[in-house]
């Protein structure tokens, strides 16, 4: 389909451990329309980052492997590409922003050198021009005095500034797709809103698609068009941001939404909770994993619930306990 930039079909990603292969991502499918923002939300360990890393193939080697499915970007299956071909895709077609800006930057090199590297690798450009291009891109991500900042080291910048530099690097070659893995988790709320605004401004300007991974439903509501809710390696619900908050269908989504304290919940009232904890990846059942958390006996959870479109553009994992139309 032409209006989808990226299509992920039945993606399976596993990690090799002493106990055999463990499926961190278990047959998930979703698509990213052109120019739109798709949010992936879920608790820690639900596989949201692994999904992103499978798309760009930056899984830890040799333990992490994509064992099945397709990742189609602009009609090309990324899983089938060689390492060298994939290297050209990253940076040019897909840009990635990682969570912790301090670890994403090399502390030993100047900002300018790190951004120039992207230009030097992917375009035929002289060092001087690359340096100049770095200044331009820093200006674009609204770093004050980019001519000075370009010669500084990461430790001289604040957290928000560092994240801007990481964004600048990701956007240097004007990618079609930007993957932002928890871009604001390490930042303060005020800086978070600056960074989210910046991403959406640049998105509009450059017409790219964004995959925004976060655990914060507030961030999802403010900046995403579509939302994928993941639980224990699977997608339990996928729909537009409006309908997710207005009419969540899966019990997990409902639980997640109602367990957040909001500014308008009565003070000191008891919050709704989701009982139990996410099962460990070693114990994942074939059947509905949210039922597993709620204490349904494992022996009953043998059938994988069907993931289907229950109303236009609203996909749900239709476990009879968790989805009651």
């Amino acid at each position: 389909m032409a209006d989808n930039l990226l299509e992920v079909k039945n993606l399976i990603t596993s990690f090799k451990t002493d106990g055999g292969w463990l499926r961190a991502v278990d047959e998930i499918s979703f698509s990213v329309p052109r120019g739109k923002t798709v949010g992936i939300v879920g608790e820690s360990g639900c596989g949201k980052s692994v999904t992103a890393m499978s798309i760009v193939q930056l899984l830890p080697q040799p333990m992490g492997q994509v064992l099945g499915g397709e990742v189609i970007l602009n009609g090309q299956d990324l899983i089938k590409l060689s390492t060298g071909e994939m290297r050209k895709i990253r940076g040019i077609d897909i840009g990635v922003i990682f969570q912790e800006p301090m670890t994403a930057l090399n502390p030993c090199h100047r900002i300018g050198k790190q951004i120039s590297e992207v230009f030097l690798l992917h375009t035929k450009i002289s060092k001087q021009d690359a340096w100049q291009a770095s200044i331009d891109i820093l200006k674009k991500v609204k770093i004050p005095a980019p001519e000075l900042r370009v010669g500084e080291y990461p430790h001289q910048l604040s957290g928000g500034m560092r994240q801007r530099v990481v964004i600048a690097m990701a956007l240097a070659c004007k990618p079609d797709l930007l993957i932002a893995d928890e871009p604001t988790t390490a930042l303060d709320v005020t800086v978070q809103s600056q960074i989210l605004d910046l991403i959406s401004d640049l998105q509009e300007e450059m017409g790219m698609s964004v995959i925004l991974i976060t655990h914060d439903l507030g961030v999802i509501a403010q900046s995403c068009d579509e939302v994928v809710v993941m639980y224990a390696g699977r997608i339990v619900e996928k729909t537009t941001a409006e309908s997710l908050f207005k009419e969540p269908l899966h019990a997990y989504t409902k639980g997640l939404l109602s367990s957040m304290p909001r500014l308008d919940t009565p003070r000191k009232s008891e919050l709704k909770t989701i009982p139990g904890n996410v099962a460990s990846i070693h114990d994942f059942v074939q059947g509905c994993r949210f039922c597993q958390r709620l204490g349904v006996p494992v022996s009953e959870l043998t059938q994988k619930p069907e993931y289907r479109e229950v109303s236009p553009n609203h996909w749900v994992e239709t476990c009879p306990q968790c989805y009651k139309p």
């Binding site: 500034m161 709320v189 005020t190 809103s193 605004d197 439903l217 997640l256 000191k268 009232s269």
Partner: protein, 336 residues
């Protein structure tokens, strides 16, 4: 006895910066700069602010993990700001702390039993069997299974670890618990479990909390009153509902509007704040927030007294012409 359990007045915590050839002091990080606040019996005071504003330092001063540079800390009728180790030991029966990262604040080489028993051992309370009984009761109280007692902290999930941290903090039946970002490392669904537990314990044991966090929705939920901190100073204190409904200070307003509300229909009515919190080593001479927003009246505030004024009943705000509406500022002037 007054009804204030904790009273902090004019507290300053300056960390010296040493440098030069002779390693003399060449400056100071003014992490907490002239802060006064109080907490009543059974009350929760929420403390919010951006990272680096000094909220954790203030919390640590309150339990005397830091010795403050100046000012007094009156806890339960006793000034502990200069107290020695012996006095502190007995005071800390009533004054406990819950830390942010339960993975780092629990000793990985101690079993849950040993972690909690330490509290009783230090205060020489109970016999072995009594202690075991107490620990079992505590675990039950915080919702951990009985068999947890002989496990190690790394065998638990984040939420359960935080429960161990809470069990340790309530072991000696304290009066005040300073909770420094107790839920920010947890997932949403687990976060609400821990918040419910903290509320329940407060109801049952009559605890007071100093609840430090950067998540304003969480703070509002658990607090009776909220104090907003900016660059080592408190800029606004009020009842939790009031501060969210009728914030006076520009920084409080900006902070509130930066919270992403989980409702897509509320998109785009945010005030985005430019810039970042300045360094507490060389804070602006006048209004710190006025400097950040480059307010036209900033120059006036240099050398001005920007201390808190009670603008409405129980609603205190810094009398700062850059950060208040003209009307509110005039009111402050007449009141002070």
């Amino acid at each position: 006895m007054s009804d204030n359990l904790l009273e902090i007045s004019n507290l300053k915590m300056h960390f010296p910066i040493m440098g030069g050839v002779m390693l003399r002091q060449k400056g100071a990080v003014k992490a907490v700069d002239d802060v006064s606040l109080f907490i009543k019996h059974g009350e929760t005071l929420g403390l919010v602010g951006e990272s680096g504003c000094g909220k954790s330092t203030l919390g640590k001063c309150a339990v005397r993990l830091h010795a403050p540079t100046s000012g007094t800390i009156n806890f339960d009728g006793q000034d502990i700001s200069r107290a020695g180790a012996k006095t502190l030991r007995s005071t800390r029966q009533d004054l406990q702390m819950i830390f942010q990262d339960p993975a780092e604040s629990l000793d990985p080489r101690l079993s849950v039993r040993a972690i909690i028993e330490e509290a009783f051992a230090i205060h020489k309370m109970g016999t072995r069997s009594e202690r075991n009984q107490w620990i079992a009761e505590l675990l039950d109280r915080v919702g951990l299974p009985k068999k947890a007692i002989d496990k190690f902290s790394f065998e638990f999930s984040g939420g359960q670890r935080q429960r161990i941290g809470i069990a340790r903090a309530i072991a000696l039946k304290p009066k005040l618990i300073v909770a420094d970002e107790p839920v920010s490392a947890l997932d949403v669904s687990v976060q609400s479990q821990v918040l419910n537990l903290m509320l329940e314990l407060q109801r049952d044991m009559g605890l007071s909390y100093l609840f430090i966090a950067h998540d304003l929705a969480v703070v509002k939920h658990i607090s009776d009153r909220v104090a907003v901190m900016y660059l080592g100073k408190i800029v606004e204190v009020a009842d939790a509902d009031t501060i969210y409904k009728d914030p006076k200070h520009a920084y409080t307003k900006a902070l509130l509007s930066a919270i992403p509300e989980p409702d897509p229909s509320l998109k785009n009515n945010r005030v985005t704040l430019d810039g970042e919190i300045p360094s507490p080593i060389n804070p602006p001479k006048g209004s710190a927030f006025g400097h950040r927003i480059e307010h036209k009246r900033y120059d006036e505030t240099i050398g001005m007294d920007l201390s808190l004024v009670e603008i409405e009943k129980d609603h205190w705000v810094a009398a700062d012409p850059c950060c208040l509406s003209d009307e509110d500022y005039k009111k402050c002037l007449t009141l002070s």
